[in-house]
Subunit: 415 residues, 2 copies
């Protein structure tokens, strides 16, 4: 049995304890985790410092270093997130649907955990805690594979969580971290059908593509967002500028940030300068088509085909002037990753057309794409935004970390 198979077998054994734990036990575990995280602040920072020192040595960019860094406040925030899960409804055992059939069979569709969840993620160590505790609240066992850049932080966080879970009488192995950060263990995890029920990659487009093409375990794709704003001919220009600016600059590194702007030709001359004025405050680089350059001048970098297909996650935006709402929709269907798109318009017809024909998880009218988020939708914490159509689409919260089981009770019925 390999190292990864052993973790898989451990998880499979622990699965039953996670699935049958009462709400009180799961909540006690979450409270114990939150408590232990705060109490272990010094230890976590110490482990994180090793990762940060290695990051400096390896020439990691300042923004990546910032994402890797844990300090007292960030640890407090992580613990607060865990405590919020205590308040969340426990769906396990709840009945989605029930019926008594004419032959007297009583059929209940009940909610049960998925089982064992594998999560592959990149360098942000807060994901280690967020993902593990969401899985735990939903009654699952979890195997985490984080990025090598954060391995010391992750080992420390996983150890704290495992001890906390054990302190309330649950098996440690409901939370496991793959400590071997080699690529081989990731590949093995992707094919661990015997033990894993689902694999969730959290990270950039490259990671997700690799997982989808190699995994034999069912995968839920999350988190690549080449999100569009389309400014229709009838748009309120101030509103359009605010929505583009908010989508692009409020937090450029997240998946619901705007990456591409399409503007109707009849409003482009007025709208583009107004939008640019706002983006200039954040020094956003504009990569535009010829018409964009003709309107906005020399600061526009000519956009390539690739730019329109790129999730920049940075202060860069691609811009194109389009002839019609149909061209905008066609462009979105071509380049979008199916995450979030918005139309700014006063036309009811175009708003409805846009929402009907754009095939993305979240389609907005006159609002920022930044709202695609479990918390903003009122669903609570989430493990990511699903951009696929199976199982979950859009914010993946606690409900999406469960499945159903039919319980049928009779008194001897046969067919």
């Amino acid at each position: 049995m390999t190292y990864v198979e052993k973790l898989g077998a451990n998880a499979k054994n622990a699965e039953y304890f996670a699935a049958s734990a009462s709400s009180k036990t799961k909540n006690d575990a979450l409270k114990a985790i939150a408590d232990a995280l705060v109490k272990s602040t010094d230890k976590i920072i110490e482990a994180n410092n090793i990762d940060l020192e290695n990051a400096v040595k390896n020439g990691m960019s300042a923004s990546m270093q910032d994402r890797l860094k844990l300090d007292e406040n960030r640890i407090k925030d992580i613990a607060a997130g865990v405590l919020k899960l205590v308040e969340a409804e426990d769906l396990i055992g709840s009945i989605d649907y029930g019926v008594v059939r004419p032959n007297g069979l009583r059929i209940c569709k009940t909610r049960v955990p998925l089982g064992v969840i594998g999560i592959i993620f990149e360098s942000r160590p807060n994901v280690t805690v967020d993902a593990a505790t969401l899985c735990l609240k939903a009654g699952n066992a979890v195997i985490l594979k984080g990025g090598k850049e954060a391995i010391n932080s992750n080992k420390c966080l996983a150890e704290i969580m495992r001890n906390a879970v054990e302190s309330v009488g649950l098996s440690k192995d409901v939370i496991q971290l793959i400590e071997d950060t080699s690529r081989e263990t990731t590949t093995e995890l992707m094919k661990l059908n015997q033990y894993l029920d689902v694999l969730i990659p959290r990270g950039g487009a490259g990671l997700i593509k690799a997982v989808v093409s190699q995994a034999t375990v069912p995968v839920i794709e999350t988190g690549t967002g080449n999100c569009h704003v389309y400014v229709d001919a009838s748009a309120d220009i101030n509103m359009a500028a605010d929505i583009v600016n908010n989508g692009k600059t409020q937090r450029p590194s997240v998946c619901n940030a705007v990456e591409s702007l399409l503007v109707h030709k009849d409003i482009a001359k007025e709208a583009l300068p107004a939008i640019k004025a706002k983006l200039d405050e954040h020094k956003v680089e504009i990569r535009g088509c010829e018409q964009t350059a003709a309107i906005l001048g020399d600061s526009v970098i000519p956009a390539t085909e690739e730019d329109y297909a790129t999730e920049f996650l940075d202060y860069i935006i691609s811009v194109k002037v389009v002839d019609s709402v149909d061209q905008a929709i066609a462009d979105i269907r071509k380049y979008s990753t199916g995450h979030s798109e918005t139309i700014v318009t006063k036309s009811l017809e175009n708003a409805e057309k846009f929402q009907r024909e754009v095939d993305s998880a979240a389609v907005y009218v006159n609002a920022s794409t930044r709202f695609t988020d479990g918390g903003e939708y009122g669903f609570g914490a989430e493990i990511g935004i699903s951009t696929q159509k199976l199982h979950a689409r859009g914010p993946m919260g606690l409900r999406e970390l469960t499945t159903v089981k039919y319980l049928i009770n009779g008194n001897g019925q046969i067919r």
Copy 2:
């Protein structure tokens, strides 16, 4: 562009027409299909005869030939099934959930089609019509890949359906059949991520395993059922005999048929002969453990480890005497495919334990596993029984052939 890619591109183009078709148009298409099937009875039988002649030449077994055969009554039944779908509720556009957030954003979770569905199936030609019309009712485009044994029947049926769909103004390409029955086209279909949203294999364990291990398109596994009956110490013996007999012999070739019997040691001496008496009427072969043989005598064939893991789909059953409900559950967790299992018992404690701890899509108390079926659950027609946990588990009806899309309307909200 290869042949399969071309079908994929056609389906992607047709997808929009299927998705935006009104309930009336979809129902008109279904009626036209049912009508054309009945009117083309002679033509279908003629095509089917070619397949049957080839089957004889290739030495196909009589039971397989029977599954392949279409006659007037079977065609009438297929058409009646299509007409039943006309009555089914159209879920597309319905709202699963809606909320107005404190900031005024109106969020609607609406039901939309999955998009393009690929279905790989074996020799039964009725699946061609069942699958295509279910997908159509749920607003999807479908690409069908049937077995080579039924290719003439399938071509004829697909042509009839395509013409019928076109006669009501829908694109023919919402239904397409891969006419090249080589293995290569199946392999290509499994990796057609650019065009396919989901792949549903319908068939034996070998087909499903091949698809799961090779496909990069998301797969929903359906239809392998190594279903168990556990006869508890407190069981009503007559009920147990009826439930085993019904599960094994009422229709042995289907996925919810019983394949394995576990009997508590304290009741085995009384229960096994009573069960055997019923099974003997259907000449069921018993492959049992040593204790089974000690009770039932020489007619019992010694069971191998493999027998307990086998879905016979035939008049064969594996039997084991177990020491406890816990051993029964452990055995089921080890050998089951996660389809349907039942306990026969008078003990509330054991009934609840069994339903809680057995991790299958449908877990019964005192009823036949043969009820795991969309129609029997009151859900209407289904495309199969999902034995996986993602997206759908248990009967996969029209709802499971759809996904969701969030529509969010605001008046300029930003974060």
